[in-house]
């Protein structure tokens, strides 16, 4: 268990550094980091499915969007709701959706699984995009962000950038450590066993379908957490957050960062967004920045070819050895 402890220690260090960031007084970067941390949560939730259960979902954006829309639709026109019940409510909507679709979707395998998850996500997308229910393709706003109040005392005022930053940071840390715990348990080990060889696990007597479903639901609920926080950030939701592009982006972050490591997806989220910011900054790179997607694309291709364990693989000596053995 020692490697885990040293890993967790360094993650804590990173979180600590992040906690100090708002003191740098850069509003734009505080917002950017908030967004990255939200994506990190989103990516970690997907890693549970992809990296640990071996289920590649191409429709994870559905949960992100459902929770975001749930928050906006739950909020009355000009007042705010309390985070204490709106967050669990939003996550429950996601968990329920995951439960129902999971029962259908988990009957398929491999590429078919990928496509069916895409199909369900697309259906949710079209519900919000084509109907007036959720404001249609232009999206909707909330005018007042949720409150975080205990007994009349306001813990955090989410209208303030820094407060939201800390809330997201706390959640990111919580999700990381929660998933660490879950994955270290019997449940987590069973998932890994299922990923390795489902038939064998089934032969050993594990009810593999139930395990997969549990993983699917947990993954969906945590994806919803990310979506809820994202909706708070700008108070604006739009069907684009349900698009397959979004599902694809988070999948890229997981793979690029290094799936099956939990910290990999966090690295992936940071790397992806920061790289995008850097490459598209016209004041730094001038005209070249207009075509930043070219550099981004080349970078992604190189990672796919030469970094089989993702970026996190760069950080782990053992992983490097394994990769060398693979080649």
């Amino acid at each position: 268990m020692r490697p885990h402890r040293s890993a967790d220690l360094f993650i804590l260090l990173m979180f600590g550094l992040l906690a100090l960031f708002p003191f740098a007084e850069s509003t734009f970067y505080t917002q950017l980091l908030t967004k990255i941390m939200i994506m990190a949560i989103f990516a970690m939730s997907l890693d549970l499915l992809v990296g640990y259960t071996g289920l590649v979902s191409f429709g994870h954006a559905a949960y992100f969007g459902l929770a975001g829309y749930a928050l906006v639709l739950m909020s009355p026109q000009y007042e705010s709701v309390s985070l204490w019940w709106s967050l669990p409510a939003a996550m429950s909507v996601c968990a329920l959706f995951a439960l129902i679709t999971g029962m259908l979707v988990l009957r398929t395998r491999g590429i078919y699984f990928i496509m069916v998850t895409l199909a369900f996500a697309q259906m949710v997308f079209f519900v919000f995009h084509d109907t007036k229910f959720g404001g249609g393709s232009d999206g909707i706003f909330i005018y007042a962000k949720p409150t975080l109040v205990i007994g009349g005392f306001e813990l955090l005022n989410l209208e303030k950038l820094n407060h939201l930053f800390y809330l997201v940071l706390i959640f990111m840390a919580a999700v990381y450590f929660l998933l660490r715990r879950v994955l270290a348990s019997t449940f987590g080990r069973a998932l890994l066993g299922i990923k390795e060889n489902e038939h064998r696990m089934s032969a050993l007597g594990f009810p593999t379908f139930r395990y997969k479903l549990a993983s699917y639901v947990l993954s969906g609920a945590l994806g919803g957490l990310a979506g809820y926080l994202a909706a708070i950030q700008y108070g604006f939701v739009n069907p684009e957050i349900l698009s397959w592009h979004h599902s694809g982006t988070v999948l890229m972050m997981v793979i690029m960062g290094g799936m099956g490591t939990l910290y990999g997806p966090m690295v992936g989220a940071f790397a992806f967004v920061l790289l995008q910011e850097l490459l598209s900054d016209q004041s730094l790179l001038g005209q070249v920045a207009k075509h930043w997607q070219l550099a981004m694309g080349i970078f992604v291709i190189l990672v796919a070819l030469y970094l089989p364990r993702g970026l996190a693989g760069l950080l782990s000596r053992k992983a490097k050895a394994e990769a060398a053995a693979d080649a």
Binding site: R107, I111, Y112, M259, L294, P308
Partner: protein, 288 residues
């Protein structure tokens, strides 16, 4: 709608479906035979369209443009396979997803640098630029019928290629068991290169031939990509027969959906796919 319009809508659905087949056939081949998920398939469609516009601009004729463009795309496909794709055989599908996603970005930006971001139009070749009157108001463009004809020919050609030629036999052998085929003396590397190039060329050809109808514009490959995947999955991966069946099915569903239930017509294709996969998780037909 009365009966004659019903027939016309059937024709619409058929024609749309055949076009979809043309684009999706390449994807299902590459996927089924090489086991490669190619997210950049839509981008090759776009490359074909832009190439057609560019070459037609230079030569003044769409036919010449297509004849010149096809070999170019074959070369493009072979180079990409040699440079990138072959390093991914045997690796987890996810790396193919990642690499081809990067490829989409590269192709899109390269297109932007080379040919700009405007909407371009292409003229239909004069000989085909007429319409057949179907009712007093409505005519059917001959060019669309021409495209459908080409699609059918191509479908037949692919079928013959795969089922009745030696190359087809080698392809099927390689798809079943790569090592075995190789040990039997088949140059699997070459077969794979050719199949990938064929896939790219089919997508590009679809873009070229449809360009006068669709116009040529940035990110035109995106909607194509997603619907191709749906077709491949419904039809059964690797099955050309399946791709044809699925394409027609989707063509009809989309056409009648737009007219009968416009509010949900965007979703129909996905409802179909989800329903089918839940009933028959491997798609309509199995391999080739």
């Amino acid at each position: 709608m009365n009966f004659s319009f019903f027939l016309i809508q059937l024709l619409n659905g058929m024609q749309y479906g055949l076009l979809l087949f043309l684009v999706a056939s390449g994807l299902t081949l590459v996927f089924g035979i090489m086991g490669i998920i190619n997210l950049a398939h839509g981008s090759f469609y776009m490359v074909g369209a832009y190439l057609a516009w560019w070459l037609a601009g230079m030569t003044g004729s769409l036919t010449a443009a297509i004849l010149l463009g096809i070999p170019l795309t074959v070369i493009l496909g072979m180079s990409l396979e040699w440079l990138l794709m072959r390093r991914l055989y045997g690796r987890d599908h996810l790396y193919q997803v990642l690499l081809t996603y990067g490829l989409i970005l590269v192709l899109e930006e390269t297109r932007s640098i080379l040919w700009g971001d405007d909407v371009y139009g292409l003229k239909v070749p004069d000989m085909l630029n007429q319409s057949i009157a179907l009712t007093e108001n409505l005519s059917y463009p001959v060019y669309r019928l021409f495209i459908s004809g080409v699609c059918l020919l191509l479908a037949a050609g692919l079928y013959v290629l795969i089922k009745h030629t030696r190359l087809g036999m080698m392809i099927r052998a390689g798809a079943s068991n790569r090592e075995m085929a190789q040990s039997l003396g088949i140059n699997i590397k070459l077969v794979y290169t050719l199949v990938f190039a064929l896939g790219v060329a089919l997508a590009a050809f679809a873009g070229m031939i449809n360009a006068p109808v669709s116009s040529v514009y940035p990110s035109m490959g995106n909607p194509v990509l997603i619907i191709c995947f749906v077709i491949v999955v419904i039809g059964g991966i690797g099955s050309v027969k399946g791709a044809m069946a699925a394409s027609i099915l989707i063509g009809m569903a989309d056409t009648f959906g737009q007219v009968l239930v416009p509010e949900v017509s965007g979703m129909i294709v996905y409802l179909l796919m989800a329903g089918l996969l839940v009933w028959r998780p491997e798609g309509l037909f199995s391999r080739i």
